[in-house]
Amino acid sequence: MRKIPLTPRPPLPQGERGSKKDNLLAPLPLRERGWGEGYKQALLALLLLIHGAAIADTFGYPLEPQQIAPDTYVLEGKTEDFSRKNGGYIVNTGYIITADGVVVIDSGPSKRFGEQQRTLIEKATGKPVIRLYLTHHHPDHFLGNQAYGEIPRYALPASKQAMQLEGEAFTANMYRMTGDWMRGTSITLPDKEAKAGTETVGGHQLETIALSGHTPGDLALFDHTTGILFAGDLVFNNRAATTPHANIAAWLTALEKLQSLPLKMIVPGHGKVAQDKAPIEQTRDYLQWLSATLKQGAANGLDMNEVMQTPIPERFKAVALAHSELQRSVSHLYPALETDSLKPAKQAE
């Protein structure tokens, strides 16, 4: 750092500095700066301090358990995209208090989240967590796993494989999008294979339903005892469905299966808990519209940006992030469709 002269210098003759107005607005020559420089540095330091204090959050997620049955709770995230403000808390996680201990569904977007979620659950229920179910391999659903190191962690084989394959890239991107909320987060894989079927855990009859469509492995957990379905990201409620690993045909089949369950309540992966099947219907409607829009675009020779401009139908106006998810979905799903719309040209010899 440059030294600041401690002794005041004699004032320069008037002519050398220009008018008084210039003196106020224009930077002084470097060698000319005396004590004023000290003030400037102090002010800068002060500003940095204030700025620093504003972003040096405690990184506490606003976790508020929402009781949806006598022994079932949901932590509802915002229907937003990842940001430094929400720290990735854009996802629903839940827990069921059984006679043997607590069953947790999804561990959230970061190590900090998993830790805070587990602390809250064990404090609020006075019971230990006995197992963790991971609905699928997307980062907002399993990056809190580190907090459950000694707890059995159940996932479908396809989910585990995808976590292994893509987990590192997800984590890097989450650091980019949410910043310090991610501190210390690394991949902890599931260690138990979730098998389709029903099993009684501490008095709750829990059915693991193995599906796919949103991702290659989508686990839905249906609690026959309470009639509550934890649908993972197979169901979105007033939040546009995301498609980076989607197979829409398989997804629609999965939704039919969920539709057939004798359920009383749905916990979607994103959006509000519902007492009816409306979110299943909305997700199905949105996916069918999306699929038709993309197919029609390819059949009419549109380029990606032109499809991205498609207006969102009135009935999806309440669906958060519909426009940006349409943009993303075009990137995910359009290339295969448009390739099908081309024919080989006649190559010259």
Partner: protein, 258 residues
């Protein structure tokens, strides 16, 4: 002395923090960059030869706000609202290779869609030069997780590029105003920035009608995505010939009929 220097310093600080437009742009005649890019000055001198320009809403650049796939960022430019467009230069200020493409329409509208690789979030601009010698500049800011330029192409990584090199597939859609031509040319389009993989990309491509008249010329640079996919508005034409070369001298030559 101290008394008047203190407010001067605070003022300076406020000016410095609050107004990112450079002093040169404040005092000079150059219009302020609506995308506020640190590289605009360099782009201007390098790609527009320092010539007269205006930021002009008539040059539209369509792109997603955020690049979902940094290897395939869809870009559409449309300068068809301007008369007498001689060429359009596309550039991405913050890309390691900022030059993307040059399009010289002869008898068809100055509108083109393609995909590009982005190494990080960047302005993507299209500058259209009209007959009076003025550049009309439009642009969009695309956020990106990045890495698009330093990855090997899929073709090179899997080794199967040579079996499809230069193969063209296409289709023509008849429309009331302008027919639509979509063309895909198989090519790795390696940037040279992936370790041990030399630059290998299509350099030039011409689109002609069935009688051999030139409709448009294109110069492609490294950031154009692998297996370039182009969409053009082509007037009433229904038959085309596509000719071009890559930087290793391989020819592209194909006939497209509806």
């Amino acid at each position: 002395m101290t008394l008047f220097r203190l407010p001067a310093c605070i003022l300076l600080l406020i000016i410095t923090l609050g107004n990112p437009v450079s002093a040169a742009e404040q005092s000079g005649h150059a219009p302020a960059d609506p995308l506020n890019s640190p590289q605009w000055g360099v782009m201007h001198s390098r790609f527009l030869n320092g010539e007269t320009y205006v930021f002009d809403d008539k040059v539209k650049v369509l792109a997603p706000d955020s690049a979902e796939d940094s290897l395939n960022v869809p870009i559409t430019f449309d300068a068809s609202a301007l008369q007498g467009v001689e060429k359009i230069v596309v550039m991405a200020d913050l890309n390691p290779i900022p030059g993307v493409l040059e399009f010289r329409p002869k008898t068809i509208p100055a509108r083109l869609s393609f995909r590009m690789k982005l190494q990080q979030g960047s302005p993507v601009r299209a500058a259209a030069k009209t007959a009076d010698g003025v550049w009309h500049v439009g642009g969009a800011w695309v956020d990106a997780a990045g890495g698009g330029c330093t990855l090997p192409s899929t073709g090179t990584a899997t080794g199967d590029w040579s079996s499809t090199l230069g193969k063209v597939s296409a289709n023509v859609w008849q429309r009331p105003d302008n027919n639509r031509l979509r063309v895909r040319v198989m090519h790795p389009m390696d940037t040279g920035l992936a370790s041990g993989i030399p630059t290998f990309h299509i350099e030039d491509m011409n689109i002609l009608d069935e009688s051999g008249a030139l409709l448009a010329e294109m110069t492609l640079h490294e950031p154009i995505s692998e297996n370039p996919m182009l969409s053009l508005d082509v007037g009433k034409h229904t038959g085309f010939r596509l000719e071009g070369h890559d930087n290793n001298g391989n020819r592209i030559d194909a006939e497209v009929v509806e």
